[in-house]
Symmetry: none
Subunit: 209 residues, 4 copies
């Protein structure tokens, strides 16, 4: 039993260290960029010698990959389980979700967009697949809206990218101490996005066609 306990304890300790490695790497990668961060710095943040990192991650690349995989999984999961008032339409839901999530996880998001090029090809492919899944959510919303005649029908994939780029740029300049609250930001972006894609009245295909 003592041995069992020890094992459990050890595993728990290892888990805790791995998590601290992730946290330290996340902060450092977000601030300085993957290439500019050394394993020594991460180890020092964690309070451990560099060699010890290799008990938890096989390479530096694996840390990055782990962070990005985790981020995409959590992002998609968070969307699945997000809760909104019934009356809210899908586009508004998506915008509010995205802004909120990205403002709360600025580091993850930043890395996720900046460090794509530092992923080795295999890892990149996997992440890209996940990213496309996420983008597909918005594209689908836009396409459905176009079919309904509510949204303009042109190039929904391009519009997806335009909207996501617009939203994703927020954490780069947003400061809690600024004049606008997170909720102000959400509202403003909902307006911008809705206006951008809404079909103007009198232009509905039914009427013009």
């Amino acid at each position: 039993m003592a041995a069992q306990d020890t094992k459990v304890q050890t595993r728990a300790k290892g888990q805790a260290t791995a998590d601290r490695v992730r946290a330290a790497a996340m902060k450092r990668f977000a601030q300085a960029g993957y290439a500019a961060v050394s394993m020594r710095e991460i180890a020092s943040d964690v309070g451990v010698r560099p060699g010890a990192l290799y008990n938890h991650f096989q390479t530096k690349q694996d840390i990055l990959n782990d962070l990005m995989l985790g981020h995409m999984a959590q992002l998609l999961d968070a969307w699945e389980t997000a809760d909104f008032p019934d009356h809210m339409d899908a586009l508004e839901r998506f915008v509010r979700f995205h802004v909120r999530y990205h403002l709360e996880r600025a580091d993850e998001v930043f890395i996720s967009y900046m460090e794509l090029r530092n992923l080795e090809p295999d890892n990149f492919e996997t992440i890209e697949t996940e990213r496309r899944k996420y983008e597909a959510i918005l594209t689908e919303i836009l396409e459905k809206g176009a079919q309904d005649g509510r949204y303009t029908p042109e190039h929904p994939k391009v519009t997806t990218r335009a909207i996501i780029a617009m939203l994703t740029g927020i954490p780069a300049w947003f400061r809690e101490s600024g004049p606008l609250s997170k909720s102000d930001i959400e509202d403003h972006y909902v307006n911008l996005v809705q206006n951008a894609v809404l079909r103007a009245p009198g232009q509905s295909p039914r009427e013009t066609g």
Copy 2:
């Protein structure tokens, strides 16, 4: 006169090398990121030994700074001298200019947004000042439009950033070989942006106030 010629020739050769350094660094920085590019690689691209780079730039940082300063100066200058049909309104001009310029200079633009954090504080300040000048152009357009009642009046600075983020993201995914031409892209983004900020008819302050 012969001596004069010699000097001119020598200096011209140096100028040419410096330009090739700029070009090589631009490509490499855009592809791999500043931190991941070595002076050796740049030198090798240029066809020169690493030490020779230091005849033209004092440090690697200076190369980055030179590229970013040059980009901002050219961007602002290009805006000043851009030529558009008289009937085109300012917002459309800006969007078309930005999309066009950024699609033609994808590398410069990419570096300009990605490598800001790798600028040393002094250099960063200078670049930021230039960037704010550029953003101010769009903010002013939005503010004037709001005064005229054509554009929604809320948070023109935030809207500026939203629009610029949206436009600047284009080169990240655009491919010549894709289904849309550069001109298609321009048209689509003009629509998105105009819709995003246009005040809906029947909502004009004159009529409602």
Copy 3:
């Protein structure tokens, strides 16, 4: 216990390497001068790759500083614990001690005098303090002798430097294979120094004053 042994062994190995670094650096610095010795050379002498040196010393400067601090500490300690016949007077003790010590540790001594200018300011200050302690020993001997009327009373600090310069120059030319033994040298310098500072008979303050 096995783990304990391992740690002790590992640490002992590191200690041994550090000592070999010190020994190699000492020889090289003494022969070629600090600035002319490369970390590569030291590493090669030690039988290790250059990077491994940095497990033991943070910088090249730290190696120099370590050597000089060690030398001064050992010098002062050796004086404290030196053993001489009871009848021998303090000046003779000092001269014999200094000559002997410096002939046995020619490299340390040489570095200690030659490389002062290569110490960074903070390190220099610390070493200078130690050096002044050592000089103070001789100055005090001269001052006491002057009070007793045995030694000439003029400028004991200058005389200190004169004597130490004279003695310290020995290793620069002394060769074991030369006509004089170390002990001959000692005797000769004791004579020179004693004569230099002895008050001539008939000049004693008692008699003349």
Copy 4:
């Protein structure tokens, strides 16, 4: 005549540059040591590009060699032409000459002692020959004095080195602003040296033999 004038002027200009190179190198070598001084630094002091130095000296080593050869030649020449009161004995002359010369040319002297090891073998040999000539002057004085019974007869060559080391160490600590003037220093060292080698009365070979 114009061409002639030009040549003369050019040669004079070159001579002047060479002299400024010597002066700059002297200061730098004295302060930082030969190995730690770069041709770039010297060139910058002179106000010229590094390549230009090679119009005046074939290598960095040649500058050092030139300085040391010049120093030894001037030292020996200065001794030949030095002027002293008739009544002054040879030993006092030598001490006063040496102290004076070394206090006035601290940089030359310092380099001359510190940078011997940085001379390539051939250059070293030449300089050593000159140095031995200079030391021979003092040795001869001591030997003559020993024959006369005025000086102790032991090991005049060792005594030579002791005295020269003692005297040569002065510029290392002497400061104009200190409590002693150059002339005080001279007097004090004359005393020390004379006492060191004077045969005590009642010990003269005539009387004891």
